[in-house]
Structure formats: structure tokens, C-alpha cells
């Protein structure tokens, strides 16, 4: 539900790449470069197996130890043989050996891993045991004995290496298949009467493809290393037959007197390994979760214009002109702009909007918890004289937790699964109150009593997985209360809960507010929750505040057509013909916001002037302030929030 704008913004560029893995890989310059390098190496070695500039075995002692020249592009070795010709022919056998290892490993591991992960039960147990056994076997010992047995036949050695290596891949494929098998489209496949094998091939295999390709490129680099290592040791093809490893060995023996020889022989191995590694990396990026698509990027905050502190003593939190941008692969995208909102001591303000409206982004910006690729690029969030958007690192100490606390949507994710609830709460208490263990233990019980946990001492001894979702949310609220905050930011605190539990948590929040006088900024998409809990409402649509008003005024009749439309969608208020009222169209994504009103394209009251220029906030009847020039209630004049309040 609370899919943030961050995720939506990041989705767009990654989406296009989803179509085809190959297209996705080639879309990046790293992927193109690595692919091109590998292609050149492979083609050259393939051709080189049959055609080389010189006979790789032809010695010419007169031309020994030459550096590159027109005749010998990569110079000659100790016996005057052409290095390029030897590299090409040696490469062919090296690459075939790597291919054998990779093929054996994939062919063995893929069906076993799929069967273990998808079928589970006995099959899984047997396969997992065997895999554990194989992984415990010392690879190098087996490899050396096999080579001895088969007269240094490197291909058989590499096949055995692939077989031994398949154990690791079975584990990885099993994990991926297990995860994919939990997905609903696999269940859907079973409901189509597909056999388990068909489901595995059609639905599970396609999901493990990415991880298999990544693992295969990694394994190819290892196989290449092992193959060169073995021939370096003199195992494998005997001299004078050229091998990459043998050539490195030869170069190593004369590295003092003739260092050049190491450059082409070591270089080609290094380049091939590097290209394989980069390719694997790019494949992983392409198949990775969309949320990490813009991982490394960050927003430049140059020239951020802070907004002035309105300086109203009643107002705890004053957000002014807040603008937040996210860095995506397609560039910087503004996801929230020109947001003004006030939270006064002791009141509950509802921040309402659909997914993509930016409501969670605003809440996170206030707490300085924006993801790494997001930043406040304009405006301020004033907290009793401090601009929160200017705080960094240590600056947040003394604010986060003790002044402003957060309650998140998913309580279980807020708790550490490895430690008891009492210990987690106690740690917070010791940080905030600077007290010893004994005093902390008393306060922990006090906190749990405060959130109406029936048996606090017993609950404190439990681990997070031993309590229900409703209890976990109570504990999360207790953790938020540990620092005695003056403002609680609650981001969809009841969305994951059952209605009866939701009612209990809302009642609890109200009771705590009456007891402590703290303010609550409640992020929600549910009008019922707003009606239950909030005194004032701020409605967001496509990154902008569209309406601010007292809750009573909003429910009596909002000023903005979007607020009206959102209220009317509720299933208990159907139109006279029994259908539900809907809003035609969809929310515009942040990179496609229109000029003027963001809602104009879906608005029944839209006129030509709605799309001409930015729409100001307009003061309307009662407490309503709406970003609309054709509002549902009579209009006044454009105002800023400070003006509106000081008048």
C-alpha cells in the first residue's frame, strides 16, 4: 500500500530493461564493453584453433625474446615462438576446458536445484544431504588424483571440477526456486492443472535464470583460474603444446631477465576474467530487485533555498515549501514539491493520499530518513527553531526519538528478531534516560503497561516472532514512547492490522495522546482512520498538497475536487445506480507531472485555465485551503500558511 514515490520513480527506467535480459545488459556501457571483449577473445581463439599467423610450435632461436614488432605483434618467447599464435591456440583449449566445467556444473545443478527447491520434502532432504557431502570434499585433492588417474587429461579434470562445483550452484538454485515457488503465479500455475514439472519449467525456471547466469559467469572466472593454475603446475597438456597457464609459468621463470613475456600471457587472462566478472555484475544489476535500481546515485543539493521559520510558538512542526527529489537512472525526479503543513502540540494531523502521492516521502523527509538516493532540495521543516532538513548525522541526536519518534507500518520489521522485547526496549531506555539496567527494567514494564500490554513482564521476555501483529505494533509504539517524544510520526500504523486490532491501536494512540499531550502526524490512506483519529487533514495528490482543513470541514464538504472524489470512492457510499463512484484515469508519475493542476486531467471541473500555470493554495470557506481555482466551496485569495494562521 505504501509503495513510495521513491520506488515508483525508480521503477520506470528499470522496467524497460525487464523485457529482455540481453537487451538490458547491452543497454549499459559496462555490459556492452564486457560483451565485446569476451566476443573478441572467444572469436579470436576459435579462429586461432585453426589459423594462426605462425605455427605455434615452430621455434626460431634467432628471434627469441623479442618485444612486439611488425612481424611478431606480441613478441616471441624463450624459444623464439610467436606469442600471439601460442596465445590463440592455447586460448582455444583453455576456453573449451572452461566451457566443459561450466556446462557440466549447470546441467547437473539446475535440475537438482529446481527439484529440491520446488518439490521440497524428501527430494529436498536427499539432495541437500548429498550436496553437503560433496561440498565437504577437498576439491583440489580430488582434482589432482583424477588428473593422475587419467594421464593429465585436462578436459576430464575440468568436468570433475564442474561436477564438484555444481554442489554450490544446487544450493543457490534451490534457494531461488524455493523463493519463486512461494510466489502466487506458481500457485496459479497449479490451478491451471499444470503438472509440477510444467510449473517448474514454465514459472520457476524463468525466475532463477538471473542468478544462474550470474553464478555461471563467476564460476567461469574461477574455472579459468583453476585451469591456468593446473597448467602452470605442469598438469594438463604437456609442453610444447601451448596453454595459457603453461605460458604464464614460462614467463614467471624469466620475469627478471625478460619481463615483457608476462604482459601478453598474464594480460589476456586478466582481461578475460575481468570481462566475465563485469558481465556477471551487469546481469545481476539487470535482474536485481527494482528497488535497488538507482542504488549508488544521489541528489545534488546545490543551492537549496531554506524557507523562513514562521516562528509561531503554538506550532511544533512547521513544514514550508518542502521539495524532495530522487536520483534515478533517468536523472533527478522531483517527487514532492511546495508542501506546507503545521502540527501543533497535542493535535493529530492526518496526511492523506494514495500511493504515489508522496505522503510517506514527506514523513520520511521530516525525520531525515529519506533513502540514500533522495534529498530535500528546497524548503524547510522547522522544529522549534531548528531546521530539520539541515541536520546531519550527530545533529539528529536529541531530536530523533526524544523529540520526534516514528511508528512504521510493519511493526515486525521495526523489531530485532534476535533479541528479546525487554532487551530492545531496555536499550532504548538506557540511551534516552541514561539509567542503569535495573532502573531501565522498571521503565520497560512501565512503557509496556502504558501501551496496555496485559502481562508486561511476560511479554518483555518474549522474542518478536512470539507475539501477534497487534502486540508487535503496541511494542513498536512503546519503543517510540521510550524517549518521551513530543511528536509521533505514524506511517500507516494500522494498515497491516485486522480491523478489530486497528481499532484497539487507534484507541491506544488517542489514550496516549490524552496522557502525554504529544502530537501525532498520522500518514494514512483510509478515511475511516482519519474520521476516527484526526483533528486536521492534509491531502496530498501527485506530490502536492491539494487541500488542508479541519477534519470536520473535509467530511462536511471539501474544497478540492480530488478530496471529494477520494471521499466518494468509499464502498459504503455507492452512486444511486449501485455502482461505486470512481476517478477516471491514473495518478501521473513524478516524471510526467503536467503544467498547472496535477489533477486537471481527471477532474470533472477542469477548465482551460487549470493547465496554464502553477495553481496557488486558495483560502476557502471555513478552515479549508485548497490548491484549486475552481473549488467546490467559495474561494477567497491566494495565501501562504503563515498568513492564514496569523490573521
Amino acid at each position: 500500500m505504501s509503495a513510495t514515490v521513491a520506488a515508483t520513480a525508480a521503477t520506470a527506467p528499470a522496467t524497460a530493461a525487464r523485457g529482455s535480459l540481453l537487451r538490458g545488459v547491452l543497454a549499459t556501457w559496462r555490459g556492452r564493453t564486457a560483451g565485446a571483449v569476451l566476443l573478441v577473445v572467444v572469436l579470436a581463439c576459435l579462429v586461432g584453433a585453426f589459423v594462426t599467423p605462425y605455427d605455434p610450435l615452430a621455434q626460431d632461436l634467432a628471434a627469441a625474446r623479442q618485444t612486439p614488432s611488425g612481424a611478431h605483434w606480441l613478441g616471441t618467447d624463450l624459444l623464439g615462438r610467436d606469442v600471439l599464435s601460442r596465445l590463440l591456440q592455447g586460448g582455444a583449449s583453455s576456453l573449451v576446458a572452461v566451457l566443459v566445467a561450466v556446462l557440466v556444473r549447470t546441467v547437473v545443478a539446475l535440475p537438482l536445484g529446481l527439484a529440491a527447491g520446488h518439490l521440497g520434502g524428501r527430494v529436498d532432504q536427499v539432495i541437500t544431504r548429498v550436496v553437503d557431502l560433496v561440498m565437504a570434499v577437498p576439491t583440489i585433492v580430488i582434482l589432482l588424483s583424477v588428473l593422475t588417474l587419467f594421464g593429465n587429461d585436462l578436459l576430464i579434470g575440468m568436468a570433475v571440477f564442474g561436477l564438484l562445483g555444481s554442489a554450490g550452484l544446487v544450493r543457490i538454485v534451490r534457494g531461488a526456486a524455493l523463493a519463486a515457488s512461494q510466489e502466487l503465479h506458481v500457485t496459479a500455475g497449479r490451478l491451471m492443472g499444470l503438472s509440477r514439472r510444467q510449473v517448474a519449467v514454465r514459472h520457476v525456471l524463468s525466475r532463477v535464470r538471473g542468478v544462474v547466469i550470474v553464478q555461471t559467469t563467476l564460476f567461469a572466472t574461477i574455472a579459468l583460474g583453476v585451469q591456468t593454475g593446473l597448467s602452470f603446475l605442469g598438469l594438463g597438456a604437456p609442453p610444447p603444446e601451448p596453454t595459457w597457464g603453461g605460458m604464464v609459468g614460462e614467463a614467471a621463470s624469466v620475469v627478471q631477465s625478460y619481463p615483457w613475456l608476462m604482459v601478453p600471457t598474464g594480460g589476456v587472462i586478466a582481461i578475460t576474467v575481468l570481462a566475465l566478472g563485469v558481465l556477471g555484475d551487469v546481469v545481476r544489476d539487470t535482474t536485481a530487485d527494482r528497488s535497488s535500481a538507482s542504488g549508488g546515485r544521489s541528489v545534488r543539493r546545490r543551492g537549496r533555498v531554506p524557507a523562513a521559520d514562521p516562528g509561531d510558538p503554538d506550532v511544533l512542526l512547521a513544514v514550508r515549501g518542502l521539495e524532495v527529489a530522487f536520483a534515478t537512472a533517468a536523472g533527478e525526479v522531483t517527487v514532492v514539491r511546495d508542501v506546507d503543513l503545521d502540527v501543533r502540540a497535542g493535535e493529530t494531523v492526518g496526511l492523506v493520499g494514495e500511493s504515489g502521492s508522496g505522503k510517506s516521502v514527506v514523513a520520511k523527509a521530516v525525520l531525515g530518513l529519506l533513502p540514500r538516493n533522495g534529498a530535500v532540495v528546497a524548503g524547510s521543516a522547522w522544529w522549534r527553531g531548528t531546521d530539520l532538513t539541515g541536520l546531519r548525522g550527530r545533529g539528529w541526536r536529541g531530536v530523533r526519538g526524544s523529540q520526534i519518534a516514528l511508528v512504521a507500518q510493519d511493526p515486525l520489521r521495526a523489531l530485532d528478531p534476535t533479541s528479546r522485547i525487554g532487551a530492545q526496549l531496555g536499550e532504548l531506555v538506557r540511551v534516552h534516560d541514561r539509567v542503569g539496567r535495573r532502573a531501565a527494567r522498571v521503565r520497560v514494564v512501565e512503557l509496556l503497561e502504558q501501551v496496555q500490554v496485559i502481562d508486561p513482564a511476560e511479554v518483555a521476555r518474549r522474542y518478536p516472532h512470539e507475539i501477534s501483529g497487534g502486540m508487535a505494533q503496541r511494542v513498536a509504539i512503546a519503543m517510540a514512547l521510550a524517549g518521551r517524544p513530543r511528536l509521533l510520526v505514524a506511517d500507516e500504523p494500522t494498515t497491516a492490522l485486522d480491523v478489530t486490532v486497528q481499532a484497539e491501536v487507534l484507541d491506544l494512540l488517542r489514550a496516549l495522546q490524552a496522557e502525554t499531550g504529544m502530537a501525532i502526524l498520522l500518514v494514512t490512506h483510509d478515511w475511516g482512520v482519519v474520521a476516527d483519529a484526526c483533528e486536521r487533514v492534509v491531502v496530498l495528490y501527485a506530490g502536492e498538497v491539494v487541500e488542508r482543513a479541519d477534519a470536520a470541514d473535509v467530511f462536511a464538504g471539501p474544497g478540492h475536487p480530488y478530496t471529494r472524489a477520494l471521499l466518494d470512492c468509499s464502498p459504503d457510499q455507492p452512486a444511486p445506480d449501485g455502482t461505486l463512484r470512481t476517478v477516471p484515469g491514473t495518478v501521473p508519475p513524478p516524471d510526467a507531472w503536467p503544467t498547472g493542476c496535477h489533477f486537471a486531467a481527471r477532474c470533472p471541473r477542469a477548465q482551460d485555465d487549470c493547465t496554464q500555470e502553477g495553481i496557488p493554495m486558495v483560502e476557502l470557506a471555513g478552515s479549508r485551503v485548497a490548491r484549486c481555482i475552481h473549488p467546490l466551496v467559495p474561494a477567497g485569495q491566494p495565501v501562504g500558511l503563515t498568513l492564514e494562521r496569523s490573521r
Binding site: 503465479h185 485486522d498 480491523v499 486490532v501 482519519v530 470512492c569 464502498p571
Partner: protein, 341 residues
Amino acid sequence: MRATGAAPLVELDGVSVDYRWGRRGTRRAVDDVGFRVEAGATLGLVGESGSGKSTLAKALVGLAPVAAGEVRLDGVVQDPAGRRDRGFLRDVQYVFQDPNSSLNPTRTVGWSVAEPLLALGDRDGRRPGADGVRARVADILARVGLPADAATRYPAQFSGGQRQRIAIARALVVAPRLVVCDEVVSALDLSVQAQVLNLLTELQRDLGLAYLFISHDLGVVEHMASQVLVLYRGRVMESGAAVAVQGAPAHPYTQALLAAAPVADPDRQRARREARAARAAAVRSAPAPLGESCPFTHRCLLATDVCHEQRPALRTSPSGTQVTCHRTEDAVATLPPAVVA
């Protein structure tokens, strides 16, 4: 319920479902639950998480084995272990809650929508040719309101609401008679939820579909369903016409559920909250293990000794619904008006 000569489309009779629990033991997720869905009608299944509503639907389609009781389609008893023939799978389709996970992200929308048609074939058992499949997919995608080029695109290129439309199209492509809607709108935004609910209503009217509509949201169920079944901890609490269950709930649990659902009206909500406060203050204890007692005793204001000792049988309540409650007369008499206002 209705006395007709023909068997109902789908009927579950005294169904129990066990889940493996720990190494040896089992837990009863659904205990002796029955319902029927007539052709073209909608039955709403309501309950909180852990109430067994999804498990019950899974027992119907064969994803969960039935430990006791019978599942019938057109009066024909189905395999308790969960094997279903193609005819059954064509007749009964399933739409899941999460449209992100129910569509294979690596396949085009057209591929996903065509899959059931290719796997199950047509009603006469034959598979339509490639052109036939393409035409049917294009048809059904247009029917659920998706653009013509949707078939060649990938799920990630669609919004949550659109993906749920795709999932609905995939269910409808084999022309089923019953569609199980398992929390189909609970992951969607309010405005999108209304669009999808309207689409389902429209499809039911045009195609004569029956729905088994599962939701935790009473408001949504009331809008969609003519009949409602309320589950709690795997047992039936109350069932009957949606109007009766919502307008005059006769089980204390149904009443608590209604009182807890917030309404978008501050004044009504305040009244409900006050009605609720009396209950909350009176009873707060941990749930007793399920046995031969009413599963709601630990939260019930009216619970007496008999409620703890004897499992209530299904009977007709004063408001005309079927209810499993020893104290239903008192429950109806003491119902605060704010709850159903």
C-alpha cells in the same frame, strides 16, 4: 437456504482443514464449515487474519486437503486430497490478493493470460489454435479495460490496479462459472479499488459469473455480496443475507467486527468508538485454546459458563441469520445502535 431441484454450483459441507504443526501434530485451520454458492450469485467470506477464510477457498480449489466434509461442484463430490480435473479448474478460477506476485514478471501479459487457456483447453476439451488464442486474449483484455497493446508488454509496465485487471482477465479467459476473489482489492488504492469492484460487478452482470468474495473489509463485502459468511478462528460465527448480517448482527463477534470498522464520518465514528469503549474496557484476556467452547469467549461481554463448556450449534437468530451463539437473543437485544447506524 433455497430449495431447488438442481444442485447448487458449488457446495461445501462440514469441511475441516488441518495444517501440519510442528513435527507430528496438526492444527485445525477450518473446522466444520459449510456454504453454497448458486450460479450467478456472490457469497462474501469475512474474517480477520487467521480466521481460515483463504484456507477454506484453497480447500475448494484443491490447494489444501480436506480432512473432513465434502466439496461438491454441481453436486459431484470432489477428491478430498485436492486433485481436480480440468473441467473443475475451468469452472472455478482464482484471483489472488497480490497482483505483483500472481503474474510471472518474466513473461508478457499475453503469455500469462493465454496460459490457462492453453493448459486447460476449451469447454469441449480442445485447444484453440494460435490465432484463436490470440483473439481470445485480445478480447478478454479489452473486456477488463486494458489497452490493445497490453498483451505484448510486461507486468512491471502496469500499475497495481491494471495488474489486478490482468489477473482477472487470466481467470476469465477459460469462461469460468465461479471466480474466487481472494482479497482482490485490499492491496489497491481507494480510487482504484472502486474501479476494480465496478468491473467485477459489471462482469458478473454480463457473464453470469458467481463469486466467492473473500475480504477482511466488511464495507467491500456488503457492497459485493448478497450472502455473507463470517468466520473466526476457523469456525462459522454467523451467516445469512448480507443486509441482515450487517443491519442486525446477531453474534457478538460480528457486532465487534462491525463496531471496529471505521467509517468516514467523524460523528458516526465517535458514536461507534464510544460503543466500542465499553466492550474494550470489560474484556481483555488472551484467547483460550480452541476446544469444545465458543472461540470468542475471551473477548465476549456476554460469555457465561455454558459458552466455555459447550460448543454452540448453528441456529437461527432473532434477526433471521444463522448463528453459532448461546446468547444470540441477548446479543441482539443489547446491540448498541451506533454499530449498525
